[in-house]
C-alpha cells in the first residue's frame, strides 16, 4: 500500500510518500509524478514514511530526476535507513540530491 500526498504552489511541488513503493504501487506514483511535474521547477519528495522501495519504484524516481534535470531541481528528504541502503546499493545516491 502506498499513500501519496501532493501539494503544489508557485512552481514548487511536494510529494509525500507513505507506505511501500514497489511493483504494485509504482504505476500510481508514476502517474502522479507525470501529472504534477509540468511547469514545476522545484520538486521535493518527502520519504519520511516510505518503508520500502523496489526497483520499479527506483525507476519512477529516475524518470522524475531526469525530467527535473531539464526544468529545475529535485530533492529527496527524510530517507529512512532501509531506503537509504537501497539508494546506496543501487548507486542512486550518486544521482539523487538527498537531504535530511
Amino acid at each position: 500500500m502506498l499513500n501519496i500526498g501532493k501539494s503544489t504552489e508557485n512552481g514548487k511541488a511536494v510529494l509525500t510518500l507513505d507506505g511501500r513503493l514497489d511493483t504494485v504501487t509504482a504505476p500510481e506514483f508514476d502517474k502522479t509524478v507525470r501529472e504534477v511535474l509540468p511547469g514545476i521547477t522545484e520538486l521535493k519528495l518527502d520519504c519520511g514514511k516510505l518503508e520500502y522501495i523496489s526497483s520499479a519504484g527506483l525507476r519512477v524516481l529516475l524518470t522524475a530526476q531526469k525530467i527535473m534535470n531539464t526544468q529545475g531541481e529535485m530533492k529527496v528528504c527524510n530517507v529512512n535507513e532501509t531506503v537509504m541502503e537501497i539508494f546506496d546499493v543501487t548507486g542512486f545516491t550518486d544521482i539523487l540530491t538527498i537531504e535530511d
Binding site: 525507476r59 529516475l62 548507486g91 542512486f92
Partner: protein, 491 residues
C-alpha cells in the same frame, strides 16, 4: 447430392443446436428443466390427491386422466433426460414441449387459479440463451394455453366472474361450491368459451407477451455475455500458452546444464533462477572468455514480468558480446550502459554484478552496477558480505563510468551471488528474509559443493516465506574456486 442433403441438415441442426460455446450452459439448463418437470409432477400428484379427498371442487374423473397422462409424460421425459445424460442438442426442445403440455394440462383443470403457469416455460427457455428456443416456446405456449383455456372453460375450474346468464335463469344449489350449480344451470358452452378467451386468456396473454419480450432480451444479453466471456477465455488461454513458451525460451537462454564445466577441476559452479511470474527480469550467466578467464554475471532488471524479461534478454546478449571481446569488467559495464541508454525511452534499468576470475591465479576482477553485495567465503572461513564499491545501475544515465576492483580468491574460497529476491523474500506477516538470514543459511553445515550451498539457501527462503506468494524473482549463483590450475601457474 447426398452431401448437399447432409449439409442442409447440418445447417438446420447447427441453427437449432446453437454454438458449441453454449454447450455447457445448455447441459446445466437441461438439468434445471428436468428438475422443474419433476417438481411439476409432484404438484400434479398433490392436486390429484386433494381432488380425490374433495378439497378441490372438481369432478375427480376430469382430473384423474389428464393428470395421469401428464405424470406419465413427465416420467418418460425424465427417463429420456437420463438416457441422453442431459447432453443432446434437441433435448431442450423436447423439454420445452413437455413443460408446455404439462402446464397447459394443469391450466385446463385449474384455469384462472394458475395464470402464472403460462409464463414459466418461456422464462425457463431464456436460461438456454437461444433466441430460437425462446421464440419457439413463446409460440407453442400461446397455442397450447389458448387450447387449454377453451377446454378449461367447459371442463375445468369455472371462473364465476365471467359467467353471464339469461334473465330469469334458475340455479339449484346442489350443495358444495357454486361452480357446479352454474354448470348444471345449463349455461351455453359457446358463451363460456367466448368469455374465457376474452376476459381470462387475452389479458393473461398480454402479460405473457411482456414476459416473452423480457425473456428474449435476457437471451440476447446473456448470449453476448457468454460470447464475450468465451473470447476472453480464449485470449487468456493464448496468453498463457505464449507465456509458458516464453518461460521455456528464457530458461533455455541461461546456461543450465550442470556440472557446467565437467572438464575443469579448478572450479565448480551452480546457478538457478526462479521467476515470480512466468517470465522474469533476473538472470545469471557464466562463460569462459578464454581458457583462463571465467566470466560471472548476475543481474536484475527493474520491474517484473514480460517487460523485464524482454529487457533482460537484450541486456544478457549485450553483456556477453562485450565480455567476449576481452574487455575489463568496468569497460564491459560502461559499454553495455552506453548501448542500452541509446534506446531506452522506457527508462528501464538493470543492476549488474560482473566479475572475471583468472583461473590460474584466483584473481577476481569485478565491477558492480547497483547490484547487491556479493557474499564471499575464504577457505575455512565464513560467508560474509563483501561491501564493494557501487556504481549506478546500467541503463539509468547515459555516460556513466564504472570502476572495478580486484581481489584474490584462495583455493577453497566460495563466491555467492544473488538478486534482491533473496533478501527481500517476504513471509506472510510482511517481514523480509534479509541478508542476515541469508548468511546464516550459507554458513550452516558445511556443504560439499555449490549446488548444495545454493539449495540450502533456497530451502531456507522457502521455509521462511511459508505459503506467501513468491513476489520477486529468485536468482542465485555460487562458485567454488577449488585449486589453481597447475599447468597455467607453471607457465
Amino acid at each position: 447430392m447426398k452431401e448437399k442433403e447432409n449439409n442442409f441438415f447440418k445447417n438446420i441442426r447447427n441453427k437449432l443446436a446453437g454454438d458449441e460455446i453454449f454447450h455447457e450452459t445448455e447441459v446445466h439448463a437441461n438439468r434445471l428443466g428436468a428438475m422443474i418437470l419433476l417438481v411439476s409432477g409432484i404438484i400434479l400428484l398433490i392436486i390429484m390427491i386433494l381432488t380425490a379427498v374433495g378439497v378441490f371442487p372438481l369432478p375427480f374423473d376430469s382430473v384423474f386422466s389428464p393428470s395421469i397422462q401428464a405424470i406419465a409424460e413427465i416420467l418418460i421425459l425424465l427417463i429420456l433426460c437420463h438416457i441422453v445424460k442431459y447432453d443432446t442438442w434437441w433435448l431442450k426442445y423436447v423439454l420445452m414441449i413437455g413443460l408446455v403440455f404439462v402446464y397447459a394440462r394443469l391450466d385446463s383443470m385449474l384455469t384462472h387459479k394458475v395464470p402464472i403457469l403460462m409464463v414459466l416455460p418461456v422464462i425457463l427457455s431464456s436460461r438456454y440463451f437461444s433466441k430460437n428456443l425462446t421464440r419457439f416456446t413463446s409460440i407453442l405456449s400461446t397455442a397450447a394455453f389458448l387450447f387449454s383455456a377453451i377446454w378449461g372453460a367447459t371442463h375445468g375450474f369455472i371462473n364465476l366472474n365471467i359467467v353471464t346468464m339469461e334473465k330469469g335463469t334458475e340455479m339449484i344449489a346442489t350443495g358444495g361450491f357454486i361452480g357446479e350449480a352454474v354448470r348444471n344451470a345449463g349455461v351455453s358452452d359457446s358463451m363460456l368459451i367466448r368469455n374465457t378467451v376474452l376476459y381470462d386468456f387475452l389479458p393473461r396473454w398480454l402479460m405473457f407477451s411482456v414476459t416473452a419480450i423480457i425473456s428474449s432480451n435476457i437471451v440476447r444479453r446473456g448470449r453476448e455475455m457468454v460470447i464475450t466471456q468465451h473470447e476472453k477465455d480464449l485470449k487468456s488461454a493464448r496468453i498463457e500458452y505464449e507465456l509458458n513458451l516464453a518461460n521455456a525460451i528464457q530458461t533455455d537462454m541461461l546456461p543450465n546444464i550442470f556440472p557446467a564445466f565437467p572438464e575443469r577441476n579448478e572450479f565448480d559452479l551452480y546457478a538457478s533462477m526462479a521467476p515470480a511470474k512466468e517470465v522474469g527480469g533476473d538472470f545469471y550467466d557464466y562463460f569462459l572468455v578464454d581458457d583462463d578467464h571465467l566470466c560471472l554475471v548476475i543481474a536484475d532488471v527493474s520491474g517484473k514480468g514480460v517487460p523485464a524479461a524482454l529487457f533482460m534478454m537484450a541486456t544478457k546478449i549485450i553483456i556477453a558480446n562485450n565480455a567476449k571481446m576481452n574487455k575489463s569488467p568496468a569497460q564491459i559495464l560502461t559499454d553495455t550502459n552506453s548501448a542500452i541508454c541509446a534506446n531506452n525511452r522506457e527508462e528501464m534499468f538493470v543492476t549488474v554484478w560482473l566479475g572475471i576470475l583468472e583461473i590460474s591465479t584466483g584473481k577476481l576482477t569485478a565491477a558492480n552496477a547497483g547490484h547487491e553485495y556479493p557474499a564471499i567465503k575464504s577457505p575455512n572461513g565464513k560467508f560474509e558480505l563483501f561491501k564493494d564499491k557501487h556504481g549506478f545501475v546500467v541503463g539509468g544515465m547515459n555516460g556513466t563510468r564504472y570502476k572495478e576492483y580486484e581481489m584474490f580468491l584462495a583455493p577453497g574460497s566460495e563466491l555467492f551471488l544473488y538478486t534482491d529476491g533473496v533478501p527481500e523474500a517476504t513471509d506472510p506477516e510482511g517481514s523480509m528474509f534479509g541478508t542476515e538470514r541469508m548468511l546464516e543459511a550459507l554458513n550452516g553445515e558445511a556443504s560439499p559443493d555449490p549446488s548444495s550451498t545454493l539449495n540450502r539457501v533456497k530451502g531456507s527462503v522457502k521455509e521462511f516465506v511459508k505459503d506467501a506468494e513468491q513476489f520477486d524473482d529468485l536468482t542465485m549463483l555460487c562458485v567454488e574456486y577449488k585449486i589453481k590450475s597447475d599447468n597455467k601457474s607453471e607457465e
